[in-house]
Amino acid sequence: MKIKSLIAILAIGTTLFASCGAPKSDENTGTSDKLKGEVKIDGSSTVYPISEAVAEEFRTVQPDVKVTVGLSGTGGGFKKFSRGETDINNASRHIKEAEGKSCEENNIHYLELEVAYDGLSVVVNPANDWVKDITVAELKKMWEPEAQGKITKWSQIRAGWPDTEFHLYGAGTESGTYDYFTEAVVGESHKSRGDYTASEDDNILVQGVAGDKNALGFFGFAYYEENKEKLKLVPVNDEDETNGAGAILPSVETVKNKTYSPLSRGLYVYVNSVAVDRPEVNEFVKFYLDNAGALTREVGFIPMSDEEYAAQKKKYEEFMSTHVKK
């Protein structure tokens, strides 16, 4: 009795639910032809806000194209991408050799498009009055694997800094951010000391640094920008005079003109050559490159220059005309 009525309730719920999902066509854009179909995006959670913003805007132009964005992470996303399960992969680093190989094995050709910049920001607590700037060599000394257990005090990094322990905060080892930072600072991707506070959630790193006088951390520029009053930004000196002299603070300008080096990084989308032959995917990629510049700043990243977007678009058009059609 009871079980029957329970099943009945569930069944009624399902039908009600299915019926309320009727598509509503509200937008009236009047542009070219209305496309249908879907665009499947997955990958990096860092790039996610940009793709989300583009997908949201794309809906006002092509309301019947279902663009979905997932959060599997750069590596997890590439696994799906290399099986042809997604059309576009968000990536906060370049594709790895092994990932490229598995794409090849499954006959998937791809193109990398750069869509925005991010300035990995090195921050300390506002109460920290000794760190006024830092060199890449000093960062390396703090973060390299050999430092574990040996380099623990500020005074070991630079003479004149206090004889107290420092505490490091950084991205978790599964993230593209970690790979990029270690590559740029330690010199080898995915290698660093293990005794630091790691989190995939940058807001937790912000809280960590904001509450610890002896903290030093790194994360995306947007997280510094939104928490300026709780953090102190540290200018980074790469000791290379050719791209700006001295220690340089990350900002929209210095990231854009690449003087904030080596911690400026590109953010990418990878497109699948079979998918871009579908008109809705092709349209979406073009829309992405046309609008990423305006949208990236809104979600906290740093846009490339107009010429650079034009160059990416040209690269894409060449790919469209030369890649093998199925």
Binding site: K2, L6, I7, L10, G13, T14, F17, A18, C20, G21, A22, P23, K40, D42, S45, Y48, P49, S51, E52, A53, A55, E56, R59, K66, V67, T68, V69, G70, L71, S72, K80, E85, E200, D201, D202, N203, G220, A222, Y223, E225, E226, N227, L295, E298, V299, G300
Partner: protein
Amino acid sequence: MSNRFEKISRFKDSSFKIFGMFCTFFGLAMLAIFISSIFNEGISRISWDFITSYPSRNPAKAGILSALAGTLWIIVITALAAIPIGIGAAIYLEEFSKKSRLGKIIEINITNLAGVPSIIYGLLGLEIFGRMMGMGGSILAGSFTLALLILPIIIVATREAIKAVPSSLREASYALGASKWQTVKSTVIPSASSGIITGIIIAISRAIGGAAPLIVVGALAYVPFVPTSPTSEFTVLPIQIFNWVSRPQAAFLVNASAGIIILLGITFLLNAAAVYLRIKRSVKY
């Protein structure tokens, strides 16, 4: 002498009582702090617009429609899949299977399964439902994965409920000439039903909160449509909340709190339903 012993044991008694009270209030206080801070931050964000809008880069325009719809779909299909199988397995194990060594092994394994981290079920679901059975990142694949996740909980709870039915009831049923199935159907299950329902609700509450296994199976984060069939792609509230919490803009944290309140509301409703059914159906012996 005896006076001293008495004093000591009385002291032990009262100190344990204080310790127990502290433990109880500690949990409650933490919960109260959490809920009040979430409510403080999020309650003003909840509006009809918030419930009926799709996700957006603009925190003030973003809503939870697709996530809420996904969560309701997932609850319904997970329940449809897990409840009959879970109860069936429990009835078999408790009433029909012979108490052999094999039965013992199965029993230990099911109890262990209840403690397996949910992400492992996600990987299992991705491989079996998503890839081998070709369901991809659909609601079905997600629901079946969560159904596997909560099956052990339902089985264990149902078995406990069935064990608690006094054997005198069964014997009375047999004495009237009832067969084994008749006894199970008309005597054991009705008397155990309040315990079974509680187990089901606890299990489903666990499924509602699961984000990790669903992300592995292929649930998305930005879904600008309401799923219309079980084969549709989807997102759920915990994923939307997780996504908002990790965004840099503080306004997204407010959205996350509002989302948490809605999620808490759903779990609360389910629990209220469980309490109601339990009171209505509880049998005193």
